[in-house]
Assembly symmetry: C3
Homo-oligomer: 314 residues x 3
């Protein structure tokens, strides 16, 4: 079940980009562009969400994404509650749904949810009783829709014609909600070619990734691409022996200056962050002229503002 509307009429929640449709994705990116321009011209908070309350419900640590949503909401004039899970009734045995209904009863208007279990945001969206909306800020390895949108937004600012683009995603695809949301966004926007590269044991089944070309060798995969999206290597993969060592991983799948030259000369480099330097990416590349990593961070705030603004349109 996809809670998100499949037409651009009205966004009720943002759970996944799957089936969201090119029109709605484009509408969100256009709105982010407009908000970005407004922010840079005025540096004033907007009044759009004045009187509204956005709750950050983060069951996994993520200062980066939480801060991005926090800033997005505040810059639209909303109040933000950072719901501290460790000290909350949820940790004392109150169910997630009871916590949701309690916060809804206090007239909280939006819930930004991150959870290690797939489907948590959608589960909460189904249990909303009133008009509150749920935004998925990452659930398990399922979806991270605002990351997909901000990656598409970042690429579009440099390469507006998606049909001409060859994009490569490299890293632990199997466990990556970022990869899944990127694929949904890029395919919806009609990307020319989409390629992934990962160690065999970190690759999902082929049928899970329709329309995506799998290339085993990273050097070959890089040939001729316009954009490369590197994924973060989770340290726990190494503890689970899915990755032999950081050095071995870097030798085969690390993006360094030599490898980057195999791509097109103006190839953009993206990474959702936080980066592991000299594990999946060389510092020279992460900090180099082709890197869009910090641009992604900045764009993330505007994209989240756009999502909030769209969800509150009534």
């Amino acid at each position: 079940m996809t809670v998100s509307a499949s037409t651009p009429r009205r966004l009720r929640h943002l759970i996944t980009l799957e089936n969201l449709g090119a029109d709605m994705i484009t509408r969100l990116l256009d709105r982010a562009e407009a908000l970005r321009a407004e922010w840079f011209s005025q540096r004033r908070k907007l009044d759009l969400l004045h009187g509204r309350t956005v709750v950050n419900l983060f069951f996994e640590n993520s200062t980066r994404t939480r801060t991005s949503f926090d800033l997005a909401a505040k810059r639209l004039g909303a109040d933000v509650i950072n719901f501290d899970i460790a000290s909350s009734s949820t940790s004392k045995g109150e169910s997630l749904v009871d916590t949701l209904h309690t916060l809804e009863a206090m007239h909280c208007d939006a819930f930004v949810v991150r959870h290690k279990e797939n489907g948590t945001a959608e589960f909460l969206a189904r249990h909303v009783r009133g008009s509150a909306c749920v935004i998925n800020a990452g659930d398990g390895n399922n979806a991270h829709p605002t990351q997909g949108l901000l990656d598409a937004f970042t690429i579009r600012r440099h390469r507006p014609d998606f049909s001409a683009l060859r994009v490569l995603i490299c890293g632990d695809i199997l466990h990556s909600r970022v990869a899944r949301s990127d694929i949904h966004a890029l395919r919806a926007l009609g990307v020319g070619a989409l390629r992934i590269c990962a160690p065999a044991n970190l690759l999902p089944a082929q049928e899970e990734l329709p329309g995506v070309e799998i290339v085993e060798d990273f050097d070959q995969a890089l040939a001729g691409v316009d954009v490369v999206i590197m994924l973060r290597l989770q340290k726990e993969r190494m503890q689970q022996a899915q990755v032999p060592s950081e050095q071995a991983y870097y030798a085969r799948y690390g993006l360094d200056a030599r490898r980057l030259r195999l791509a097109r000369p103006d190839c953009l480099v993206l990474h959702p962050g936080p980066i592991n330097r000299e594990v999946e990416i060389a510092s020279a590349v992460a900090d180099g002229a082709q890197s869009c990593i910090l641009e992604q961070v900045g764009n993330g705030v505007f994209v989240r503002m756009a999502v909030l603004a769209e969800l509150f349109d009534t």
Copy 2:
């Protein structure tokens, strides 16, 4: 000593509802009603506490109550400081009174205090040097005045004539600050009959509860009541062997659909939350048509707005 004024002229602090008087309680409920209406008609923050700072001083975990005060203060335009006790000087040996004076010196205007020791809020109120006010958000088993107010407010919205009402409070009365504040509020407002029901070892001495009828058997206690307020069973009571088991407790004091039918057909069900499902209350009742539990949560914000607004009237 009661710091609260006994006349409705001026509320200096809110420490307990005891001796607060029907006029002041009614004034606070009326103000909550007006703020509720204003909120629903406009959904805008008010400017009443602009420039003021409200400090949440929570020495016991309570995301629910803290969030309610946080929202109440913000929706009146105040800034809120959630004073993190674990990382504060208080944990490094600075006394509570020095912390209070430090925050007062920074021109903080209101202190919302929760502490496991009886009398902490009153103690702080006595040590305030300037014009700052103290709100008791729960001290030991002594008082939880905003809960008492919000319960009275919730009942009044459905049953405006208190003199006709029969109210039953059931659960661990001995350790319950909610029960004490409910009793003070309901008696001040002239409730028709007030009954309590609890295991013998969780019942205070009769002289502590003047004007209250004690009924041992829950089924008998429910007969003909208009409102039943269920209390939360604290898990630590079981560790202390004051309650034999959740199952045994539920069998004798759990409110399920069968028992609810012993009360009047339109009997309201209240609970301060968070609820323990199938421990003190059945899900069918908690989520049923007679339940006011989420209404209580929503009303709590308006009641706390009213208390803050009243305290800041000068």
Copy 3:
């Protein structure tokens, strides 16, 4: 290297008071005075930093200083992000500089930094890429410039002519960033005489403190002084056996009523807080008529407002 400008033209960061110059220090104190007057006359938030974001980056616990900066920023209209280090990417291996650049990319405008390592704030100031500014809220035993400013501000409100003043600083000078910043501020403002008193093993080398008289005996040191600044005794000094016991320390270096009478009759007593009662200062003195301790706390907010306002002047 001093990042701070040495002329009063423009403050880029605030890392240390060393070489800041009497003009800039005076300008900041004058601005704090103006903001104090404005606050007391109106009790309204100002709009000066509307749309700006101030980030509290505290790697050491300090509720007191963090709350002071938090209030200062909010009362100027800024949004405040309290960046939680324990749950941040920094604790997951992302470098401090990557965290800085990430927050800068989100258009955060000021970073208030506390760290146990000397030089952290200056290090971050050197790595800022855009126009964001860094404020040192205490680095190791190096500097705590806003404390130096607020101490000078507090003294100036009572004794505007610094050239006539004899000031004594007593306590663990060796480990004290407060002492260093106080000395920089007071010497820049032309203090008449500056004296320090400390146990021999908690005294820096003489050449580190040019222009400062060292007096071993506390009674002798107090003779004729107009201001005494007591320092907090860190409990860890006792664990490291640098201080034999609280009692022994208090006997030799504790400021009690008898000792205070050795100073001038109107001698001001300052302490950065939180105080250890009956360890470095007697309660009778800390709470007495000559104590400026809570005034310091209140002035701290205005001084920090002045620093933020000055840094954002463009």
